[in-house]
Subunit: 268 residues, 2 copies
């Protein structure tokens, strides 16, 4: 795919600051960036927004809100409040997409936790509407069902979107999380009109599932086929490269970006 | 659950020989055992069958056949032949259930690999019928979709079973592989009449997904709820405890069995 759609998700160079990442994107002619909240908070939202404005980069999304389920009502409310701050930060950083990683269950009741996710999203809709920020439910690979998200399939995410039928709620599709799904292509079709983001990387031999994502082309995912299906479902926005890989974090971000551009052209 | 249904899956004490495991089962009053082919082959099928017969243990299943997809027709045929040997071994060891771990794709075409799985199972049915051995399709957690099985959900396994509509083909349900599935309970219902085995263990914080399964009660799976659903779908057979865990492999099998019996009563 042409790099005009390329967005550099900041976690791919988690070893670098927002300033370094923005500079590398400008040098490499990458038009979009996707910041993460922990990096933004390192230097503050105001300064982060300034860096991005000065760089002329567009922001494809902010990672991440979510983490809704919790053992008590009070704690769930604390999470909602934090999501409201995330919505404000997204708006201030110049994006209208907040990615939601929905969170694990506080106990063994996974269905109960799924209900808490829906209640959390519902509670955020009016605030998101006012801020003109959309909530992108990102289903996470089932390997993360115990510690990161009880929303494990695009089908579940689509169910939630359809239930609320709000322009504020959509899905974010990451090939790493969905490639294995026997219902993938029908669920991508069903996402038509509410795809808020698309992430690429690859599935290589997993050691730690969190930090062993692959560079596009190194693994087993049919990335181009999935990208074309996402496009056919009407998505014309930026494509984020998001690779959590501890080996990659030993390289300067500009070097990483150069490799990404090559692979993006060849495999996405 | 009462330990009258307990089957000790041999991989749980992969550090011990079949003879040691069988002896520990007898001492602990565990009625069933589930051998693995690599351990059986260490000492030969004949001797393995003798050990099991002498112990008086019943055999709940043999692990494992499968691994159908391959790049060439010749290699796929080699796999079929190996599965025929596995069927013979199951019969000789005194069980009518061969567990199928269906295999990964030889390339990026996961749908093509799924078709190869179906073709492989279809090719085995007449042989299995003659040997009076049933083929239990075990869906594997999607974390293994790249290196162990392209059959990732109970829904897929049920689809295959329904397509062949042969008494020789059914499913094996392992809580580790299916607990995260939003369609789990409806798919368990759909398995009614063709559940050939049920495996328990737990999902703990995953480091290496292959060797960090948990002891029942240590993780997040609603084991009893799933067991009751499997029973409600008509399964009345043995319940295999199958825990692949490298820490557990440092303990003598009798010690492991004692812990398992306690946990089985409390959590299964």
């Amino acid at each position: 795919m042409e790099t005009a759609y390329l967005s550099f998700n900041q976690i791919t160079s988690d070893n670098c600051s927002l300033e370094e990442v923005a500079e590398a994107c400008v040098k490499e002619g990458v038009p979009y960036i996707a910041p993460w909240r922990h990096k933004v908070q390192d230097i503050g939202v105001k300064k982060s927004a300034q860096i991005i404005r000065d760089s002329g980069l567009k922001v494809s999304s902010l990672c991440r809100g979510g983490m809704f389920p919790a053992a008590t009502h009070v704690e769930r409310q604390v999470r909602i409040d934090d999501n409201r701050r995330a919505i404000d930060e997204a708006a201030e950083l110049g994006t209208d997409v907040l990615v939601l990683v929905c969170g694990p269950s506080p106990d063994r009741d996974i269905q109960g936790a799924r209900a808490m996710v829906e209640a959390g999203i519902e509670a955020l809709i009016p605030y998101a509407e006012e801020a003109n920020v959309r909530l992108g439910i990102e289903p996470l690979h089932p390997v993360f069902a115990g510690d990161r998200s009880v929303i494990s399939t695009l089908g579940q995410a689509n169910d939630i979107v359809e239930r609320f039928a709000s322009p504020q709620v959509g899905v974010v599709i990451d090939v790493y999380h969905v490639w294995w799904d026997p219902n993938l292509y029908q669920e991508i079709k069903r996402s038509q009109g509410h795809i808020l983001g698309f992430h690429v990387n690859d599935w290589i031999k997993v050691t730690d599932p969190l930090t062993s994502r692959g560079m596009m082309g190194d693994g087993v995912i049919e990335i181009r086929r999935i990208r074309e299906a996402v496009e056919a479902a009407g998505y014309k926005g930026p494509v984020e490269v998001e690779i959590l890989n501890d080996k990659l974090w030993q390289h300067p971000c500009q070097e990483t970006l150069k490799r990404i551009k090559e692979r993006f052209l060849e495999y996405v």
